[in-house]
Symmetry: D2
Subunit: 474 residues, 4 copies
C-alpha cells in the first residue's frame, strides 16, 4: 500500500466520465443509438458530450459542451448509417469547461485514424507526458486522453493492434478505453478494475458501456463485465478477448472504486457484480446495526441517500418518511442567483415536507460528507420545518484523502472530516449528532472487500501515486 502527500485540488466531488460503444453486423443509425446510451450515462458527466463513428472508411465525429440532449440533438435530424462508433459524456475537472477537452478525440497518425473515449485517470500520466513532451509531442488538451494516442503514434510497433497492446503496458492507474480504429472497436479496462465497464450482446450487435443502465435500453441477451485487464477487439458482432500482461506489483489484485457503489453509479445499474441499489440498502442497514440513531423517523436526502435510508428503515424498524423533496428541474441551465439572493438559491433544490417533520426526531441519511456546507443548509431547513432533533448519518466513512483515479475531491484542508471529529462536525452543521459508516462496515457490504480501493477513506492507495501533478507546460 502506498501513502499520499498533500497537493492542490479544488471543487467538490465530481466524477469524470461515461463511455459507450456500439458495433453491429450491419449499418444502423449509430449516432442515434449512441445518443440513447449516453443519455442513460448522463449522471456520469454533464459538461460535454460527443460521438465518433466509422463511415465510408473515415471517422466522423461531433462534440459539444452541454448535456447530451442539447449537445447532440441537432445531430439526430438525419440518418447516419454506420456499423461502429463510440461516445462519451464528461465532467470538466479543471475549472473551465473547454470544448477542447470534450471527447471522443480523433487523430491521424502513423497507425491511421484513431478515435478514443476514456473514463478514468492515469496515475503515471505526468511522467509519461513529460517524456513525450521531451520527445517533441504536442498536447492540445489538458486531459489524459491524448496520452495513449501519443504513445501509440510513438510506438515502434508498426501495426495498430500491437502498438495499442504495448502502450497499454506503459500506463498505470484507472482507465476504461474505447478505441475506434477503422471498423474495429477496442474496449480495454485497467488490470485493477477501478472503473466499471460492461459488455452486452443482442442479435447482431455488441454494446459496451460504463454501466449496465446504458445497455438495458437495448434489451441485451447477455451482459457481463469487461474483466480487469481484459482487451476486447470487436468487429461486427464478433468479439475477441485477450488480456493485458499482469504486472508483478499488482498481479491478481483488484481496486474497484468503492465510491461507484456509494454515490456515482445509477442505483439500477449492476456494478462490480453488485446491484448498486441493494449495496446501498446494505450500507443503510449497517448504520442501523452499528450506530443506531435516536431519531424516530428516517428520511433520505434525495436522491443520493434514498437507497441507504430504505435499508436503514428496514433494518431498524424506524419509520421511513419522504421528508425532503427535490426540484428535478434544477439543471445546468439554471441561473445562479445574485449574491443578495444566494440563500434563496439553496432553498430551490431541497424542500422539507413540514407536516411530516414537525415535532419529530429526524434521522437524515446521506451518502457522504465533503465540505459540510450543503448539510448545514439542510439541517437548517429541517429545523425551520419543526424537526425536534436532527441526526445525520452517512453511508460512507469520513472522506479524508485525495483520489488519483478519477474522482475530484477537494483539498485535504477543505474536507470537513479532516478538520473535525463527528461531534465537532455536528456542532458546525447544527445537527444533534453525526455518525459515519465505519470502513469495516462498508467493507462488509460488498463481496471480496479486498478487491476495492478505499483510499479516499483510508489513505492506502492500491498503486504508487505522485506527490504532485506536473504542469505540462515548462
Amino acid at each position: 500500500m502506498f501513502h499520499w502527500r498533500v497537493e492542490d485540488r479544488t471543487d467538490a466531488i465530481r466524477h469524470h466520465c461515461g463511455v459507450m460503444g456500439i458495433s453491429a453486423e450491419e449499418d444502423v443509425n449509430l449516432p442515434e443509438l449512441l445518443f440513447y446510451g449516453l443519455f442513460s450515462l448522463q449522471h456520469r458527466g454533464q459538461e460535454s458530450a460527443g460521438i465518433a463513428y466509422h463511415r465510408h472508411g473515415r471517422i466522423v465525429s461531433y462534440r459539444d459542451v452541454g448535456m447530451v440532449a442539447s449537445a447532440l440533438s441537432h445531430y439526430l435530424k438525419e440518418n447516419h448509417p454506420s456499423r461502429v462508433g463510440i461516445g462519451h459524456v464528461r465532467y470538466s475537472t479543471h475549472g473551465t469547461n473547454k470544448l477542447e477537452n470534450a471527447q471522443p478525440i480523433v487523430v491521424s497518425c502513423n497507425k491511421g485514424e484513431i478515435s478514443l473515449a476514456h473514463n478514468g485517470n492515469l496515475s503515471n500520466s505526468d511522467e509519461l507526458t513529460r517524456s513525450l513532451i521531451a520527445g517533441g509531442s504536442i498536447f492540445q488538451s489538458t486531459t489524459d486522453t491524448e496520452l495513449l494516442l501519443h504513445l501509440i503514434a510513438r510506438s515502434p510497433r508498426p501495426d495498430f493492434r500491437g502498438a495499442l497492446l504495448d502502450c497499454l503496458g506503459l500506463i498505470e492507474g484507472a482507465y476504461c478505453f474505447l478505441v475506434l480504429h477503422g471498423d474495429t472497436l477496442f474496449a480495454v479496462r485497467d488490470p485493477l478494475g477501478f472503473r466499471p465497464l460492461v459488455i452486452g450482446r443482442r442479435d447482431g450487435m455488441v454494446m459496451v458501456a460504463s454501466e449496465t443502465c446504458a445497455l438495458g435500453l437495448f434489451q441485451p441477451e447477455e451482459i457481463r463485465e469487461v474483466e480487469p485487464g481484459e482487451i476486447l477487439e470487436i468487429q461486427g458482432s464478433r468479439i475477441t478477448s485477450s488480456r493485458l500482461p499482469d504486472r508483478p506489483a499488482t498481479a491478481g489484485r483488484r481496486a474497484h472504486c468503492i465510491f461507484e457503489l456509494i454515490y456515482f453509479a445509477r442505483p439500477d445499474s449492476e456494478v462490480f457484480g453488485h446491484s448498486v441499489h441493494l449495496v446501498r440498502k446494505r450500507m443503510g442497514a449497517m448504520i442501523a446495526r452499528d450506530d443506531p440513531s435516536p431519531g424516530d423517523l428516517v428520511i433520505p436526502v434525495p436522491d443520493s441517500g434514498s437507497s441507504a435510508a430504505l435499508g436503514y428503515a428496514n433494518a431498524s424498524g424506524v419509520e421511513l418518511e419522504h421528508g425532503l423533496t427535490r426540484n428535478h428541474y434544477m439543471g445546468r441551465t439554471f441561473i445562479q442567483p445574485t449574491p443578495a439572493l444566494r440563500e434563496l438559491g439553496v432553498r430551490m433544490k431541497l424542500h422539507p415536507v413540514r407536516q411530516a417533520i414537525a415535532g419529530r426526531r429526524i434521522t437524515v441519511i446521506d451518502d457522504s460528507l465533503v465540505r459540510g456546507t450543503t448539510s448545514r443548509q439542510m439541517v437548517r431547513l429541517l429545523r425551520e420545518a419543526g424537526a425536534r432533533e436532527v441526526h445525520l448519518r452517512l453511508s460512507s466513512p469520513p472522506l479524508r484523502f485525495p483520489c488519483f483515479f478519477g474522482i475530484d475531491i477537494p483539498t485535504r484542508e477543505e474536507l470537513i472530516a479532516n478538520r473535525l471529529e463527528p461531534d465537532g462536525i455536528a456542532r458546525e452543521i447544527g445537527a444533534d449528532s453525526v455518525r459515519f459508516l465505519s470502513l469495516e462496515a462498508l467493507r462488509g457490504c460488498v463481496d471480496r472487500p479486498d478487491d476495492y480501493c478505499t483510499a479516499c477513506f483510508s489513505g492506502e492507495y492500491p498503486c504508487p501515486v505522485m506527490d504532485a501533478p506536473v504542469h505540462r507546460t515548462n
Copy 2:
C-alpha cells in the same frame, strides 16, 4: 349536480398553469424573485413562462416558450427594480404551443393598462365569448385569459376595481386570477375554490402563489389560503380582503380539485389545508386496507406513486422497495426517437432494479390510469426484470369523465377505464391484477370530502357545464 355529455378532447392528462405574484413596500429586483417562485411551480406548466411588473408607471412584460430557466433567464442579467409584479407558467392544452397564448397578457383599455395571469378554466367562457364577439370584441389568443379583460373593458363601471368585481360576477368555473393594475396587485379565487391559491407575508413583502412550495423560498412569517370567493387587493404590503357575492346555486359550497392532491401539486406543498404528501400516504394506506395485493414487495412508480407507496407499505407491513428508477434528465428538450426506435425511448425514462425485483411478487403503486399505454410498458419491464407477479394499484378511482375546469383528460373513448373493468385492464396491460382506490375511500382521505370536485371519477359536476366547446370564429 350536473351531468356531462360527450365532446372531443385530446392528449393525456395535463395541468394548465401556475401563477405567482409579489408586492413589496420598496423596490426589489422583482423579475428575479418571480423567477424563483415560478421555478418552484415549474411542475404546473413547462410550455411557456412569463412575467409582468410595474415600473415607472407602466407595465413591462416578457414571455417566451420553454421552461422557466431558459425562457426567462436572459432577463435576469440586469437589475429591474419594481415593487409589484406577476408571473405565469403554462401548459399548452390545444396542440401547438403558440407564444400568443403565453401569459401574463398585458392590455390597454378604458380602465388603463392591465396585466393578467390565470390558472383555471371557465365553464361559461364559450357563452361569454360568443356574446363579446357578437358585440365586436376581437380575440388574439385561444385562451380563456383574454375573456376577463374584455369583460372589464366592456363594463359600464368606470373604475377598474368596480369593473373587476362586476365581471367576476359574470364568470363561472375554475379560476385563480392575478391581476396587475397600476401598482396594485389583485388576487382572486373562484367561489368553489377549484384551484389552490395561497398568500404569504414576510417583512414588507406579500407573495401569492398557486402552491405553498413557491412561498417557502421566501421564508414567510405566515401563510394562508386565499379563501374561495375571496378578492385580495394588495398595495405594498397592505392587504385588503373582500368577497365575491355568493351565488344561489353554489352558495357555501366548495369544489376543490381532488386531482391536485392525487397528482398535480408538489408533495411538499400544502394544498386545501392538507400536506399533499401525507394525503397521498393516506391514499396508499387506504388501498392496503381495502384492497390488499398478494404482492410481497411494494414499489412506487417514481415520482408520482412515491408517497402512496410509502403509505401502502406502512399500512400493510409489506416491504417497500425502490424497484423502478427514473431518469430525471428527461426534459422538454429531449428528442423523440425515430419510429424505428420508439421502444427504446420508452425505456429511457423508467428502469427496473433487476436484482431487487427478480423472483418477487410485486405490487406497483401509481397515482392514476389514463390510457394504459405507459403502464403496459412498465409491466413488461418488470416482467423482463424477473418479477413473478405484477399487481397494479392506483391511488385514485377509475378516470372516466372529462374535466371542464382546467385538466386535459383524453376523450371518453380513450380512457381505458371507460372500456374495461379492472380485470380487463389487467389483461390488456399484462398485469396479474389491477385495482383502483374507491371513490369512497378517496373521499375518506380528506377532511370535508364534500368540499371536493370528483367529477372526473363520478361524472357529477359541481356546476353546469357545456355540451361542447364553441369555436370562437364564426
Copy 3:
C-alpha cells in the same frame, strides 16, 4: 394644407414596414415564397418578421424578432402547402422591440378569423382608438395595426367585405393593408397613396408587395401599382378591383412620401412610377446644377448617397471616386462597443480609401442630414485620410418637421437643420461647406410634384394631423 405643432418623438429616421402577399390558384409552399419576398424587403424593417397563411380552413401564423433569415428560417424546414398568405417586416418605432408588436396579427372576431399586415401610420388613430377604448375594446400592442381589426369587429355590417369597406372609410393617414380572410387576400392602399404598393401576376399566381424589388424574384408577366384608394380582392389568381369613396378634403389628391425616393426604397425598385435609382441620380444632378461644390472629386456616402453622387458626377463633370467603403457585415447582431471604445465602433462601418482622397478637395454626397452626429465622424475620417477640403452635399432639403405618416424623425430640437443654417452646420460637423438640395429642385426631380408629401421639409401636411399623440392608457 395643415400645420403641425410640437410633440415628442425620439430616435433617428427609421421606416416602419414592408408587406408581401401571395395568392395562387393551387397549393404552393407559401411560407417559402413569402420568405423570399420579405427577404427582398428586409431594408424596410429589421426588427421582426412574420407570416400568416391559410391552411385547412384556418390561419396559421408565425412571428419572431430578428431579421427575416433568422426569424423565419426554421419555419422553412418543411413544406407547408397553402394557396394564400401574407408577410411583414417591421421596425420597432417605440423603443423596445416587443414581439407583441410583430405582424401579421391574427384575430378571431364576429367576422371570422382575420390576419392583417400593415405598412403606414394612421393620422386619426388616436381619436379612433380613444373611441374604441371608450367602447370597451382592449389593445394588446402599441401599433396602429389592431385598430382596423377592432373597427371591423365593431362594424354593424354583418359581412366581412362590407365591414372592411366601411371601416376603411373611417381611417385617415398613410396605409397599405394586406388582409387575409378565409382564402381571400385583400390589398388596400390609402387614397393619398403615401406608401408604395405594387401588384404583379405570373401564371396562376398574384403577388402584392411594398416594392417592385420583391416581385422581381417571381419574374412577373406584368406589374402595376395598386392605385391610391384602390381595394383589391384576390382569390386564387382572380383579382377584383374597387375603389374607396373619395373624401371631399382630399379628392383627387396624392401625397406620395418623397422620402421613399430619397432614402427608403431600394434603388432597383420602381416606386410611384419612377426608377428610384434614376430619380436619385437626378437629385444629384440638380445639386450640381444649383449649388456646385468647389470639390475636385465627388464621393458618395455608401450606400445611401451612391445614386445621387453618380448623378452629380455626370452632371458636373467632376471625377467620381469610391472614397469611402462600407463594412456590410455590420448587422443587427453586432455588439455595441463598450463606452471606452465607442469611437472604434463608429470607425467599423465607414472606411476612407486614403490614397484616393489624400490631398484632394472632396465633395461628399449623402441623402439627408438628421442630427449631424454621423456626418461629423465621417468628415473627421476624411480629414484624417488627408482630404484637403470636405464639402457635404445633401440630396434633400433640410429636415425640419415631424412625419405623422410612418417615418420616425427625431424631435424638432434634435434636427440639426432646426438649430443651424448650412454654414453653422458646416462649422459644427467640421466641413468646409454644407448645402442642401432646395425643395423646388427636389420637386423638379419627379413628375407631378404636387402628388408628393414633402411635409418633413415644408411643414405643410397633406391632411390634418394631431397636436400630440394620446396614450392609450388613461
Copy 4:
C-alpha cells in the same frame, strides 16, 4: 518556374484566412480589441473565428464556428484584461466546417504553451507531415496549422525562439504566422511574401493584421508591411526585427498573390504597397485601353467589379451606371432555397435596375470568371431587364491553374476558361462578347510585376509544388 499537374480540388474560389495580433504595454481588454480587428477582416473568412490571449501566465482561447459577431460576441460581456493576444477568421476549405479546424490553436509542448494563427498554405506540408507522422506525431485537425507546432516541438533547439527560427527554415509556401508564446507575440511572413501582413503602432500598442483595414480602426501613428521573410518579436510595444535566411532557389524573389489585388482584399486596404481600390481602377482602365467594348454604358457587378468599372468608365469616357444592385442582407445564415425554387435564390442577390438598362448596350465589369454559372444568370437578368447587348469584361486573365498557396480554385476541368475560348464562353453564358484582361496588362497595373505570383493564370509557380496531396491517414 515550376509547372503543375492535375489534382482534385472542389468548390469555387475561396480565400483562407485573416489574422490579427495585438501587443500592448499595459493591460487592455484584449478580446474586445481583437474582436474589432477581426470584424474588419470578416471578408477573409466567415466560417469560424477565434482568439487567444495571455492572462496570468497562461494562454486563454476561445473559438467557434460562424461569423465574428456571433462566434465571439458572448465572449465580450466582461472585461478580460491582457497585454497580448492573437485572433483568426477562417474559411473551411475542405467540405465540412469542423470546429476542430478553427484557429488559433493552442498547444502545450516542450517549448511551453504556444498559440498559433495562420494565413496561407504550405507547399511542402505533405512531405513534412508524412515525416512527422512517421516519427510519431499525431494530428488532430486537417489544417496546415498544426504542422509548425509539431516541428517546433520536435526541434532539438531547447529555446522556443531558436526552434521557431529553425522550423521556419523547413517550411515552404505561403504563410503569415502569428505566434503567441508567453507574453511575446511573433509575426512571420514567408520569404516570397505571398499573403499580406502589416504592422502598425500607436501609443503603447502594436497591432499586426492581414490587411491595413484592420489597423485603421486603431488610428495607428505608423503602418508598414511586415517584410517578406521578416520575423517580428514583439513584447509590449517593443518590436525586434530579424530575417529568415534566404534560400538559394528563391533568394531576393517575391511572389505576392495578385489575386489579393484582384479580388480578396478590401478596397480600402493597402496591400503590397498599393491601394487596392486604385489598382483595381487601373485594371479597369487597362481593359478600356486594350479591349474597348461596344457598350454605351458600363456597369459593375457589385461589389467585386465596382472599382474596375469606375476605372473603365473614367478611361473610356463611357457612362458609368449602377445597373445592378446587391442585397447585402444575404449572409451566411441564409437558407438555401429548395431545389424547386433554386432559381429564385439566384435572383435574390443581384437585381437589375430596369429603367437604367432597358434598350442600352451594356458593358459589365467583374473581377474574374470561374465556372461561369453565376455570370450566365446575371446575363439573363440583364437581358430580361431590356439590355440590348451585354458585353462582359473581366479585370483578370483567364483562370486556368490551381493555386497551392491558399486559394481554393475548382478543378482544371471546372474552370470555364480551360474549356472554352472567350467567344465560346460568350456563347455559353449568353453574352454578346467576353474579354479578359491580358496577363501583360495586369502586370502593368502593379509596380514591380515580377514580384507577383500569377500562377493561376500562367501555370508558372514561384516554387516547386506537389503533384497531389497526401492524406494524412495511411
